[in-house]
């Protein structure tokens, strides 16, 4: 169940104690939180990497659309869904 709608001008960032890391032996990207480990697929990792607290959601969507040469609408839907899910698990601050 999602708590909030993500605003396009929000500047998402990882809270203290949550970290994205790459570990070859565990098969790629993982999001680490206190006593919790989440495997991140390639798309999730690309989104989370851009959650620096400086870029807005719009910036992130623009950047991804450009980098992966994909339609902005589709990217926006994916990013919004991903960020909402991560925020609900308190893995990201909006």
């Amino acid at each position: 169940m999602s708590e909030s709608k993500v605003a396009p001008d929000a500047k998402p960032k990882l809270p203290r104690g949550v970290r994205l890391t790459h570990n070859e032996a565990q098969g790629g990207w993982v999001l680490l939180a206190p006593e919790r480990v989440f495997k991140a697929d390639a798309i999730a990792a690309e989104i989370v990497k851009r959650c620096t607290g400086e870029a807005t959601v719009s910036d992130i969507v623009d950047d991804l659309a450009k980098t992966f040469n994909a339609p902005r609408d589709r990217i926006e839907t994916d990013v919004m869904a991903m960020l909402t899910g991560l925020a609900d698990k308190r893995l990201i601050e909006l």
Partner: protein, 360 residues
């Protein structure tokens, strides 16, 4: 041959026992009775190499522990090294010996999470259990600093006969400390705790009340603090998958560099432990005799061998099986299917109000 054993699973967690030195004397300490001396401790560069090897092996989280990790003068360098290796760093501390200044440096070094132990909800009784005057106040001060810097805090409340009736007050204290998570950690009887078992063992009534209290507290504080608790071993009917299964999810490096499948593994005679001074961590994980000894299910006897839960609890704790039955391959006698299960009940009744034998 069991083909699942061809390649061992990759570990997720490393318990780095940086030192056995500790200013506290908690009688429930699970460190071994023969504490490793300072002169034998690994140096900074060796630990840094261990952290790199751990990350390459698949380890994601390192628990900087002890003893009291702050007894190491190079704790900031060690934290930096673990962070630089790409590990999620969790400091497990008594809070004694960490100044505000040191903690600021640890935070800058990239510390991700802090766990502070508490002994009771009142300073007098808490300091008595810890065997250290003023420990309670230091914990309060460090907790304030941790939350001020926005680092997530877990409070580890170690429960036994003298404080188990205060479970509600201890959760309240964890909330006051600003913790987002509290572990109701019933004493596990290894090392010093085993020596003090009769002094520490709670009664059945106390355990029942504590279990009920935790249920109420979980509802009351839902969304504010996560309360982790399990039924203490001597009053349970099913064993726990100790360390998530032997040589399956985690490993422990002692102050002198011995690599153990769990922190109490040295209590089992006849196991050969390899040292990081002589072997790489990957070699030790995959090939050392101690890790091979109880990995998987091939080593099991009945009732474990044919048990439908054998891949869930892995027969429980090997150290406890040895301590209580004399056979490390036996089912953990906490299991109601163990022929030794009645012994667990008898030992739980063997309580004595003698003075603690403090860890020294």
């Amino acid at each position: 041959m069991d083909t699942t054993l061809q390649r061992a699973p990759r570990p997720l967690g490393l318990l780095a026992e940086l030192t056995h030195r500790c200013p506290l004397g908690c009688p429930y300490c699970s460190n071994p009775l023969a504490l490793e001396p300072r002169a034998d401790e690994l140096d900074t560069a060796s630990w840094a190499r261990v952290f790199k090897e751990a990350a390459a092996l698949g380890v994601l989280q390192v628990h900087l522990s002890g003893g009291e990790p702050a007894a190491r003068r190079d704790l900031v360098e060690l934290t930096t090294a673990a962070h630089d290796a790409g590990l999620y760093t969790n400091l497990i501390t008594s809070a004694v010996g960490i100044t505000r200044e040191t903690f600021g440096k640890l935070s800058d070094a990239g510390l991700d999470h802090v766990q502070i132990s508490i002994q009771d909800n009142e300073p007098g009784t808490a300091d008595h259990i810890a065997g250290y005057k003023g420990a309670y106040a230091r914990k309060q001060a460090l907790a304030a600093e941790v939350t001020r810097l926005g680092i997530p805090l877990t409070v580890n409340a170690v429960m036994h006969r003298a404080n188990i009736d205060h479970v509600e007050e201890m959760v309240t204290l964890a909330l006051k400390f600003g913790a987002k998570r509290v572990e109701i950690a019933h004493v596990q009887y290894y090392g010093w705790a085993l020596k003090n078992r009769a002094q520490l063992m709670p009664t059945r009534d106390q355990v029942d009340r504590a279990v009920a209290a935790v249920e109420t507290l979980r509802k009351q504080h839902h969304g504010r603090i996560v309360i982790d608790a399990v039924v203490p071993d001597y009053y349970a009917r099913f064993p726990k998958a100790c360390v998530g299964g032997w040589g399956r999810r985690s490993l422990n490096v002692t102050p002198s560099g011995k690599v153990l499948p769990c922190h109490a593994a040295e209590s089992i005679p006849g196991l050969t432990f390899w040292n990081v001074r002589a072997h790489s961590l990957a070699d030790i994980w995959d090939n050392s005799p101690a890790f091979m000894a109880f990995r998987g299910t091939d080593w099991m006897q009945e009732p474990c061998r044919s048990c439908p839960k054998r891949e869930e609890d892995f027969g429980g704790c090997r150290c406890q099986a040895f301590a209580l039955t004399g056979d490390a391959r036996a089912a953990d006698p906490v299991c109601h299917l163990s022929p030794h299960h009645a012994l667990v009940g008898e030992l739980a009744e063997a309580r004595a109000d003698a003075a603690y034998e403090y860890r020294r």
